[in-house]
Amino acid sequence: MLSRKVWLVTRREYVYNFRRPSFLFTAFGVPLITLLAMVVVVWITAERETSLDNFQRVGYIDRAMIINPAVANPAGYFPISDPTVPMPVETSRGKLIGEYFDGLEEFARQQLQNGELDAYFVIPQNYLFSGRIDVYMRRNMPEALRSGIENFMRAQIASRAPDTLPVPVKRLGALEFVIRDEETGEELSEAAILGRFILPFLLVMIYFMSTSTTAQFLMSGVVEEKENRLMEILATSARPAELLWGKLLGLGALSLTQVLLWAAAALVIRQIYQDARAFFSGVEFDPTHLLLIGVLFLINFVLFAATMLGIGAAVTAEAESRQIAGFFTFLSVLPIMFVGTFFNNPDGALPVFFSFFPLTAAVGLTLRLGLLGGVPAWQIALSLALQVVAVLAVMWLVVQVFRLGMLMYGKPLTPRTLWRALRQGSVTLTTAPADAPIAITGRRKGLFRR
């Protein structure tokens, strides 16, 4: 159970830092700007989508053989026909018919590439069952083209149903379009593909932005308390561990608030922007993976934040703390700097190493989970074990540094001093005044003040 003082420190740190302009900007400003940008993009896209200027020649290939020639084609729509390929007779075997349509598709592909066609769509053989239409084009699909093809198909189906074609009623509703790669024929949802690569990266970036902001607050808060000599008053009001945990929890909650605000913004964007839905569907983390990612980020936050807290307690000025913090931040962003290696081979040596190194493990594993969809269980277990050990070790060390460094004004806590104190086992808030031994030599008398 949280002690009252831990709760007081937690609440103070949360409220104070929540009101900081830099936090308000990062937490609210960034999602707001993203939302605005999305609205602008939607508006521009909507403007563009009303125009069909770029789609004057739309061909189609009817593999399902359901097109009724009696129904007039809309303006610009025509069946693909290759004069060099003879049309098979109705009694031809399936293989021959298939080859005929393959030839037509190849012909259409060439026409698309040559610019003789603006788009073409294929009604697959299994259309009646799947309801899917494959659309090929070199530009993004405008909404107008989508509804144009839908109207075309409805008119066709309506002309034959219900007498000669067992068409389910739902076929008269919206159609499902599959945009395929013109070269490989692979199903292609641009936003989904983008999401697949970008989402894990985006997740990691959001995590970095939120933790770096809060860890920075954490560190500068301790430095401020040291610089302002408030630490001594606080030290007589609460135990170092209470202060430490209060700060960690307060800023951890702040970090979570930030992530939740961004998640809410992402949901709003997802609602108002169609492509965003596809984008978010690009990666499907199963619930176990999501839980794992949550745990990984939690452990990493404690590790990173505790490190920053230790740095804040060990140094004497904010500028100095930033330099040292920069080194640890550099270590933790290494997976981002080498993100290319994750895309090339998520199981490569470097991505695997990043999955084990405690400061980079959360990011490394998340990227690999997103790109691979799964990581060997033993690697996850080993990585978690290493991280937990690292957290325990760092927390222990930080409590010592916190106790040792919190009263050292004007003199940074050097690794040597820390090591000596740890070896003597006398880290009970004991610290030499900045200059005690110097006073004996009399060289820097001005510093000798207590």
Binding site: K5, L8, V9, R12, Y16, E224, E227, N228, R229, L230, E232, I233, L234, A235, T236, S237, A238, R239, L407, Y409, S426, T428, L429, T430, T431, A432, P433, A436, P437, A439, I440, F448, R449, R450
Partner: protein, 313 residues
């Protein structure tokens, strides 16, 4: 000299604190009685702050034993202490009231209690209008008063205050002094560490002078001054001072008006006063015993120690 245990606010017994090879406090013992104003003084680096930090359990002594408010210090004891360190600070970007409430709550007050008490004290020192100002918007003197409020907010039984008057103008000095007197009248023990000797002379009941980790003077302020009194008188007026019976040396005062008359061993100030009263050759405007100020005692003691090196660390 020794009071019973229940009468003691603090008992420091044989305490030593070393930093590596440097002995900051060496086998120091003293007591602070409940309800008194106790002064700690000494040159820079004497060991005052180390001693205070050990009393507050911020530092652990290497040897010796400390009791605070009737026993070893605990978290509960800490809540009964108000501490204002010498190099003090505040959260600059926070509203005065919010900060006071936070610090009060850390000392065990409820939110409402801390708020009510902070507002009342702010009004007491004339800062009611600044309750919602940010600390950085206050003048140095105002900040000093806020710091004093933070120290006494939770109605401590013991106040330890380092240089309580530094940075304050005379008006605010009086205000803070009155506040401390008021607390003291309510039974609060006050320990102050200061270089302002005249404040100790005026306020403190007893004192401890530390130099290089050792107690060099300890006891009732009045007694200490008497102990250092010379067999001499200070006079101001007209006449041939050297001709007075029993006067062996005449020293002109620094202000050019008074003179210090050092007396022979068998002569008392009363003898000199009687002689002056009966002789028409002298006109007296001022006559007083040459009791040294604490400042003079401080310089004499610390200077003497430095000169003969008898208190090496």
């Amino acid at each position: 000299m020794n009071a019973s245990q229940t009468d003691l606010a603090i008992a420091v017994r044989g305490v030593t604190k070393k930093y590596g090879d440097f002995t900051a406090v060496d086998n120091l013992s003293f007591e602070v009685r409940r309800g008194e104003i106790f002064a700690m003084l000494g040159p820079n680096g004497a060991g005052k702050t180390t001693t205070i930090r050990m009393i507050l359990d911020i530092l652990k002594p290497d040897a010796g034993h400390i009791e605070v408010l009737g026993g070893p210090i605990t978290e509960a004891t800490k809540a009964r202490i108000g501490y204002l360190p010498e190099e003090r600070g505040l959260y600059h970007n926070v509203r005065v009231l919010d900060m006071l409430v936070y610090l009060g709550q850390l000392k065990g007050l409820s939110g409402a209690e801390a708020r009510a008490r902070a507002l009342s004290l702010l009004e007491h020192v004339g800062l009611a209008e600044n309750a919602r100002s940010k600390v950085k918007e206050l003048s140095k003197g105002m900040q000093q008063k806020v710091q004093v409020i933070a120290t006494i907010l939770h109605r401590p039984d013991l106040i330890i205050i380092d240089e309580p008057f530094s940075g304050l103008d005379p008006v605010n000095t009086e205000m803070v002094k009155d506040l401390l007197y008021e607390m003291n009248r309510e039974g609060v023990t006050i320990i102050m560490s200061t270089h302002q000797m005249h404040q100790i002379e005026e306020m403190a009941n007893r004192l401890l002078m530390i130099n290089r980790g050792h107690a060099v003077l300890y006891g009732d302020v009045h007694e200490v001054r008497q102990r250092f009194a010379k067999n001499a008188v200070i006079v101001e007026g007209e006449g041939d001072w050297a001709a007075l019976p029993g006067v062996v040396v005449v020293e002109a005062g620094e202000n050019g008006r008074d003179v210090l008359l050092r007396l022979a061993e068998d002569v008392t100030p009363d003898n000199v006063m009687a002689a002056l009263a009966t002789s028409p050759a002298y006109r007296i405007q001022r006559f007083e015993l040459a009791v040294p100020s604490l400042n003079e005692i401080f310089i004499e003691v610390v200077g003497g120690v430095r000169a003969n090196g008898s208190f090496g660390g």
